[in-house]
């Protein structure tokens, strides 16, 4: 039947394709053209001629530092998000916890993964900020001064702790169905052949889960890399990461060169495209292996 549809579609090609024309127009106007504008602008001078100078101009200490901080932030929050999310998901699926735990955890993860942006920053300021709940509790009850110990919420590590609030739940939501897909027979077969629990995980379960793990890692990376609102509401324009720099550039050309702004945005596209390509290539390869 599928073949039939395909053959019929080929005979009357133009008319059939008209059906997705509105979608195609929307995609061109609001996804593809805006992106192309950035990519082209990154290789243009102010008067429109072709140049590589904008790319070279990215190589200033401040911009390189911003990229490096952003990449570090995204790698660390994606890595920790995957590890902690995996531990919590595995605890619920295999840990022998009461059945009632699972459904609330999934619901809560759905809420928390969407509770990002400005309000999330407020929640952490009220908890770990200078006058926050935990900060004050530690000071009055135990005499521990977080600030004195060098902890500052409005810093790199403060941002890591805050980002994890939406990274971990996202991991939980994606990985629980994958963990459910691990068949009991595989574990039994491994046990019959004399595998220990660790061997089962290393040689059976993890290779099967690898594509989902890696895919989620790439997704979390891109998620953190492009996030603006949380960081902006938490630290204002002061923290030097790429999205905040780009935000300031769009608002008021702080770099003093509009085309350098395009180059900055182009760099962001390149990094998220690389992350997603790695994911797709490896997923295709692992799926072939699974067959």
């Amino acid at each position: 039947m599928a073949k039939d549809t395909v053959r019929r579609a080929r005979r009357r090609l133009p008319l059939e394709w008209l059906g997705i024309l509105p979608f195609a127009i929307f995609a061109v106007l609001f996804l593809i053209l805006p992106t192309m504008r950035i990519v082209i602008g990154a290789f243009q001078t102010a008067d429109g001629s072709f140049t590589f100078q904008n790319m070279l101009d990215l190589n200033t200490p401040s911009i390189v530092n911003a990229y490096w901080t952003s990449i570090k932030l995204s790698l660390i929050t994606a890595g920790l998000g995957c590890a902690i999310g995996f531990a919590m998901a595995a605890a619920v699926v295999f840990g022998g916890l009461p059945k009632g735990v699972r459904s609330p955890l999934l619901t809560f993860s759905g809420v928390a993964s969407n509770f990002a942006g400005v309000p999330l920053a407020f929640a952490f300021i009220a908890t770990l900020g200078p006058a926050g709940l935990i900060t004050i509790w530690l000071r009055t009850e135990f005499g521990i001064n977080l600030r004195g110990m060098g902890f500052n919420l409005l810093s790199f590590w403060g941002l890591v702790i805050t980002y994890l609030f939406f990274q971990i739940p996202l991991m939980i939501l994606i990985i629980i169905p994958a963990l459910d897909g691990l068949k009991r027979e595989w574990r039994e077969a491994a046990a019959v052949l004399g595998a220990t629990g660790a061997q089962y995980w290393r040689m059976v379960a993890l290779p099967i889960l690898f594509p989902s793990l890696l895919g989620t890692f790439a997704l979390l990376f891109a998620n953190a890399f492009g996030a603006v609102a949380t960081a902006f509401a938490l630290t204002g324009p002061q923290l030097n990461i790429v999205p905040i720099k780009l935000f300031a550039q769009i608002r008021g050309d702080v770099l003093g060169n509009p085309n350098l702004g395009f180059a900055l945005a182009f760099g962001m596209i390149v990094i998220t495209v690389i992350a997603n390509t790695i994911y797709i290539v490896l997923r295709v390869r692992s799926e072939r292996w699974l067959k």
Partner: protein
């Protein structure tokens, strides 16, 4: 042993997630010295800008949902029915918003549709609202498309279409009266997710200079102490409400199917 680690992971996780929620709630009640009160909330609700920006964002969410449904349902239906060879292209496009950060996209909008361009959308308030709605539609596109496409998988699109056609229905009738009601649950859960995303969105609204709820929250956060956590509690409640409604429609539909 496994169980010990399982409990440890769960409790550690719960502490991490609950403490900020407790923190923001407690802080939002501390406005009056020495006792808990709802003063911060009263201040927020008395602020006219709260209602204005909230109403604005709510209207924009509604527009986004309508545009999203009009765009996604016919496309996903058509791809399933007549154009399976277009699936890779459509799926690629719906994934693009996850690849291209929102801030880059809105930067492109500002450069492409500014007052000196062929299509000067940012020149008027209405044009900018339109642009922002389109931007939000792209943000919601991956979720809306996946939700609707999964919904379509559970029904027999070809048979339903042929049955409707043999009774004399046109394309619009088929879409509005046959397909849409059948994927209503998927559409609704996509709609509630869109609502949760759009209501608090900051980046696009701030850069397009529109009076939305996200920029208002940020502004208040930069200038006040006790109102921001109150806003956070309100935003959390809204997100929770959206997700709850999403689960509710899914569960209700399962009930109906089981009965049938």
């Amino acid at each position: 042993m496994t169980r010990f680690f399982a409990w440890f992971a769960l409790i550690f996780g719960c502490l991490y997630f609950l403490l900020p929620l407790v923190g923001m709630t407690e802080f939002s009640l501390k406005m009056r010295r020495g006792e808990y009160s709802f003063d911060a909330y009263r201040r927020v609700f008395e602020d006219q800008r709260f209602w204005d920006t909230f109403g604005y964002s709510l209207a924009l969410s509604a527009a986004t949902i309508v545009v999203g449904v009009l765009l996604v349902v016919p496309t996903a239906y058509w791809v399933r029915l007549k154009l399976p060879q277009a699936r890779p292209f459509v799926e690629f496009v719906t994934l693009l918003p996850l690849v291209i950060p929102a801030i880059v996209l809105v930067f492109g909008y500002i450069r492409l549709y500014n007052t000196s361009s062929v299509l000067p959308l940012t020149g008027s308030a209405f044009g900018t609202d339109f642009l922002l709605t389109m931007g939000y539609t792209t943000l919601a596109l991956p979720y809306m498309y996946r939700s609707v496409d999964t919904g379509l998988r559970t029904i027999d699109v070809a048979t339903l279409t042929e049955a409707a056609q043999s009774l004399g229905a046109g394309w619009i009738t088929i879409l509005a009266r046959i397909i849409l009601p059948n994927v209503m649950v998927a559409v609704l859960s996509g709609a509630f997710l869109t609502l949760a995303i759009v209501l608090g969105e900051f980046t696009m609204a701030a850069l397009l200079n529109r009076p939305a709820f996200g920029p208002f929250m940020q502004l208040l956060g930069a200038n006040r102490a006790y109102e921001p956590p109150a806003l956070a509690v309100i935003a959390f409640a809204i997100t929770w409400g959206c997700m709850g409604l999403m689960q509710l429609v899914t569960r209700l539909s399962k009930h109906e199917r089981a009965k049938a």
